[in-house]
C-alpha cells in the first residue's frame, strides 16, 4: 500500500517535473497581437456622430520585418518600404531611430511583461525622429534620452500610442508641423519640459494618456483643432496647457477642447531649463490658457493644484519677456463648462499670490483670469472661487457632445502631382541648370536631345542614370541617378514632349 502511494506520488512528482521542464525548454512565449499596422485603420467619424468605430482605410499588403534583441531597429527602417510593418521584440535597443519614409509602422511586442526598450543611456539625443507621413509608433518603452522620446517633423497622419516613456530629456512625445494625429494610451514621466507637446500642429487628438512628474503635462502650443480628453495629468508643475509661444513661424492656437481629464495635484517643483517657456510656470498650475483662443474646458476633475485650478492669461502678463508683434496675445472666447474643482490654490506663489493678497486672500482661486481677452464665458460661475472673471458671460453652448474627435474625417491625402507636372518640375528645377531648349548652355540644347531620343524616353532614363560622354566639345554630365524612378521617366517624357 505504502509503496503504491509512493509510486503514485512519485509519478505525480515526475509528471510535474516533466511539465515544468517541457514548459521551460519547449514553449516560447507567444505574442498574440494581430500584426496589422494601426495606421491603416481609420476612425469612421463620418458615419455617425456617436461612434468611434474604426474601419480599415486600405488593405495591409506590406512586408513584416522582425527585429530581435541585439539587432538594430534603424537597420530595419533602412530596409523597409512604405507600407511595411516593423515588429520589435523585447530587448534593449540603444539607438536613434530616424524614419524619413512614409507609411512605416513600428510596433513593439511586449511578451510576458518584457518590453522592447529604447535606452538612450543619457548619451543619445532622440529615440525616434520621423519626417514621413503615416508613421505608427506603438508599444515601446523609451528611457534615458537627452532630447525626445518621439519627435515628428512635418509628418501627417501619425499614431503614437501605448508607449511607456520615462526621462527622455526635453519632451516625451513631440509631433511638430503635423496634421491629423492621434496620441493615446501613453504613460510618460520625468520630462524636463512637456511630456506631450503638440507643437505647430493641426487636428490632433490626445486621449487616455497618463502624464506625471514632469514640468508640463500636456501642452498644445501654436496648434489648432486639438482634443485633449480622458487623460490623467498629475504631479506635474503645470497640468494642461494651451498657449502661444511668441517667435514661432505659425502664430495661432485656437479650437482646443480639454474634456474629461483628471488634472490633479500638479504641484511639482519646476525643473524646466532656464529660459524655456515652461520654466516660468508656477508650481500648482492645473490648467494654463495663455493667449490661446476658443479653448473649451469641460467636465474635468481639477483638484489639489496649489496655485490655481485654471489660469487664463495674456502674453503680456504670462510671458512678458518674449515679444512678437505678429502674434495676437489675448486669450479670447474661452469657454468653461461644467468642471469639478476643489482644493485648488492652497499654496499660491509669485504674482498670483501677490494679486490675491491685494484681495486679502491668502489662497489662490479655482479659476484665475488676468490681462486682456474678450468674449470668454463660464457656466455656473458661482460654483467656483474665481478671480478676474467679472466680464465672463453665459456660454453659448452647454456641452461639446457632438464633437467626437478633432482628427480629419479621412487621412490627409499625400499631395500628388501628375506625371506631367513631375516631369516639368524636374526639368525646370534640375535639368534647366545645364540644358535650354534652343541654346547651348553647359550641356547640349534640349531640341538636340529630342532629335536623338525621339520616341525613346527609356533611352534618356538610361543616359541620366549612367551618362556616357559622346561629345568632345561638351563636359561629361554627372549622373542624375538620385532622382526617383518616376521622376526620371516623367522628365524623359517631358523632354520629348517639350515645344519651344
Amino acid at each position: 500500500m505504502k509503496s503504491k502511494l509512493t509510486n503514485i506520488l512519485g509519478a505525480i512528482f515526475l509528471l510535474g517535473i516533466g511539465v515544468f521542464l517541457g514548459r521551460s525548454f519547449f514553449s516560447v512565449p507567444q505574442e498574440v497581437t494581430i500584426p496589422i499596422p494601426s495606421t491603416i485603420k481609420y476612425r469612421n467619424a463620418g458615419t455617425s456622430a456617436d461612434t468611434l468605430q474604426v474601419a480599415a482605410a486600405r488593405e495591409f499588403n506590406g512586408q513584416i520585418i522582425e527585429v530581435k534583441d541585439g539587432e538594430s531597429i534603424q537597420a530595419a527602417v533602412s530596409q523597409a518600404n512604405p507600407g511595411d510593418l516593423i515588429r520589435v521584440y523585447p530587448g534593449t535597443y540603444s539607438e536613434n531611430v530616424y524614419i524619413d519614409k512614409d507609411d512605416i509602422s513600428l510596433q513593439g511586442i511586449v511578451i510576458d511583461g518584457k518590453w522592447p526598450t529604447l535606452d538612450g543611456k543619457k548619451e543619445i539625443n532622440d529615440a525616434f525622429l520621423y519626417s514621413g507621413n503615416g508613421i505608427l509608433i506603438e508599444n515601446f518603452k523609451i528611457i534615458n534620452y537627452k532630447g525626445n522620446g518621439i519627435m515628428g517633423q512635418a509628418g501627417n497622419n501619425f499614431v503614437i500610442r501605448n508607449n511607456w516613456i520615462i526621462d527622455t530629456g526635453v519632451y516625451g512625445i513631440f509631433p511638430q508641423y503635423g496634421k491629423n494625429g492621434l496620441i493615446e494610451h501613453n504613460v510618460l514621466s520625468i520630462i524636463a519640459d512637456a511630456a506631450i507637446y503638440v507643437g505647430m500642429c493641426d487636428n490632433v487628438d490626445v486621449r487616455h494618456n497618463e502624464v506625471f512628474d514632469s514640468v508640463a503635462g500636456i501642452e498644445i502650443e501654436n496648434s489648432r483643432h486639438c482634443l485633449v480628453e480622458n487623460n490623467y495629468v498629475h504631479d506635474n508643475t503645470g497640468g494642461l496647457l494651451a498657449f502661444i509661444t511668441p517667435g514661432l513661424p505659425i502664430k495661432t492656437t485656437f479650437d482646443v477642447i480639454f474634456r474629461n481629464n483628471f488634472v490633479v495635484n500638479n504641484n511639482h517643483e519646476n525643473f524646466g531649463a532656464p529660459g524655456s517657456t515652461v520654466a516660468g510656470i508656477p508650481p500648482g498650475t492645473g490648467i494654463l490658457i495663455m493667449a490661446a483662443d476658443d479653448v473649451i474646458v469641460e467636465n474635468n476633475i481639477i483638484t489639489g493644484n496649489n496655485n490655481a485650478g485654471i489660469t487664463i492669461v495674456d502674453l503680456a502678463n504670462g510671458d512678458p519677456k518674449a515679444n512678437d508683434p505678429s502674434a495676437e496675445g489675448n486669450p479670447d472666447r474661452v469657454i468653461i463648462l461644467d468642471n469639478i474643482m476643489f482644493d485648488n490654490g492652497k499654496d499660491p506663489t509669485g504674482e498670483l499670490k501677490a494679486i490675491m493678497l491685494t484681495q486679502l486672500d491668502s489662497k489662490g482661486p479655482d479659476i484665475f483670469a488676468y490681462g486682456g481677452g474678450t468674449g470668454s464665458t463660464i457656466r455656473d460661475k458661482n460654483k467656483y472661487r474665481t478671480f478676474g472673471l467679472d466680464d465672463y458671460g453665459i456660454p453659448p453652448i452647454t456641452d461639446t457632445e457632438e464633437i467626437q474627435t478633432m482628427m480629419t474625417p479621412s487621412p490627409v491625402p499625400a499631395r500628388s502631382v501628375s506625371k506631367e507636372q513631375l516631369g516639368e518640375l524636374t526639368y525646370y528645377g534640375v535639368c534647366a541648370g545645364c540644358h535650354s531648349f534652343g541654346n547651348r548652355l553647359i550641356g547640349p540644347p534640349t531640341e538636340i536631345i529630342q532629335a536623338i531620343y525621339h520616341g525613346n524616353p527609356q533611352g534618356i532614363v538610361n543616359y541620366i542614370n549612367k551618362p556616357l560622354n559622346v561629345r568632345e566639345d561638351y563636359p561629361e554630365m554627372p549622373p542624375q541617378d538620385y532622382l526617383p524612378e518616376e521622376a526620371k521617366l516623367a522628365v524623359a517624357e517631358y523632354i520629348l514632349s517639350l515645344k519651344k
Binding site: G147, G275, A322, Y482, P484
Partner: protein, 398 residues
Amino acid sequence: MKKKDLLIKSSIPVLLAALLLLHYAFKQPATDYEEIPLLNTDCPPGFKRNANNECIAQNLYMQYDSPNNKGVGGLQTGLPEIRDGFTPQEIDLGRYLFFDPVLSGDGTISCASCHDPGKGFSDGLATSIGANNHTLKRAAPSLWNVGYLKKLFWDGRASSLEEQMKGPLFSPEEMNNTPDNLIHTLNSIEQYKLLFAEAFPERDRNAPIKLAEVYTSVAAFQASLVSLNSKYDRYAHGYHQALNDKEIEGMNVFRSFVARCAECHTPPLFTNQQFAVIGSPEPDDLPLDPGAEIPFQDKTLRGAFKVPSLRNIEKTAPYMHSGKFKTLREVVEFYTGGRGHAVPEGEDLIIHWHIWEPELSEYELDRLVDFLKTLTDETFTPEIPQTLPSGLNPTVKP
C-alpha cells in the same frame, strides 16, 4: 510629249500669277528688319516661362504641401512663396545692373562687390567695405534664395527687395549714390536706354529710364538666385544614399531637440524667417550691435537678428552678423557654450529659449559641420557679363 510640255509651259504663268496673288494677299506691314533681342528671352534655370512671358519658379519642393502655408517643416515640405513672375528680359537686365559699378556714386562698387557669386553671393569679409574704403558694421548676407525671404537686412528692416536695395544704393557709406544721380547716369548711357526699352516694352521706347524700372530689374535678378539641388535635397527627395553616415548623423543632431538647430533654421529653406536673440559676440573692440531693436523700436528685440538661411553656408565664411567666427566649427561650438555666455557685461538681453546648454560632444560638433556642408549647391549660378552696358569693367571676375 508635246502635249505635256505645253501643259507645263502654260502652267508657269498661272503659277506665277498665283504666287503674286498670295504675296499681296498676305503681305505683312512693312518692317525694315527683324530686331535681334539684346536681352535673354529665356527664363533662368529653375523657372518656366508662361504664356505671359513671366518666369514662374519650378522645383521639386512643389510636389509637397506646407503646413499652414508657412514653408517650414521637415524634409518633404513645400517652400514659402517666392517672388516670381518677372520677365526673362527684366531678369537679364537686372543681371547687367547687378554687376555694373555704374550704380555706385563714383562708379567703383557694384552690388556684386559685396555679393560675389564666387563667394556665395557674399564677400568673404567679416564686415563689408563700402565707398571710400569705409568699413561697414555688418557682414554682407548671401543672396541665394533671397526671393523667398519676407524680411531683408540682418535687422529685417525692409520687407521687399525693391525697398531693401535703396539702402546700399543710397547710403553714403555703401554705394554712395543718389536717386537723381543714378537715374541721370543711366539715362546718359545709350546701351542702357535700349535695354530698358526692351525689358519694359509697354512704355514708349524713347521715354527715359525710371528708378522703379531699376528696382524691378535688380529685384527680378536677385529673386532668380535659387539653390535647391544640394546633396541634402537629394536625400530629402528620397535618395538616402546622397548623404554618407557621418552626414546623416550630423543631420540627426541638427534636427534633434538637443541641438535644436532646425527649430529656427527650419527646412526646406533652413530659416523660419523669425527674429532671434542668440547673444553671439562681436569682433574685438566692437560694441554690441542692437540689431532689430533699432528699426522696430522695441527693447525686447535688442541684439535680435533675422535667422539666416543656411543654404550654401559653406561658401560664406566668416559667419554671424559681424563675421566673428571664421569657420563653421567655431559657429556650432558657440551654440554649446552656454546660454548668454558671450553677452557683454551690463547687457540684459532676452536670449532666445532655444539657446541653452545642449552639451554637444566634439564628435557631434564635427558631424554638424559635415551636415552643413551638404547644403551647398551652386548649379544655377548666373553668368557674369563679360562686358557691361556702361563700358565699365565688372567688379568681380567670372
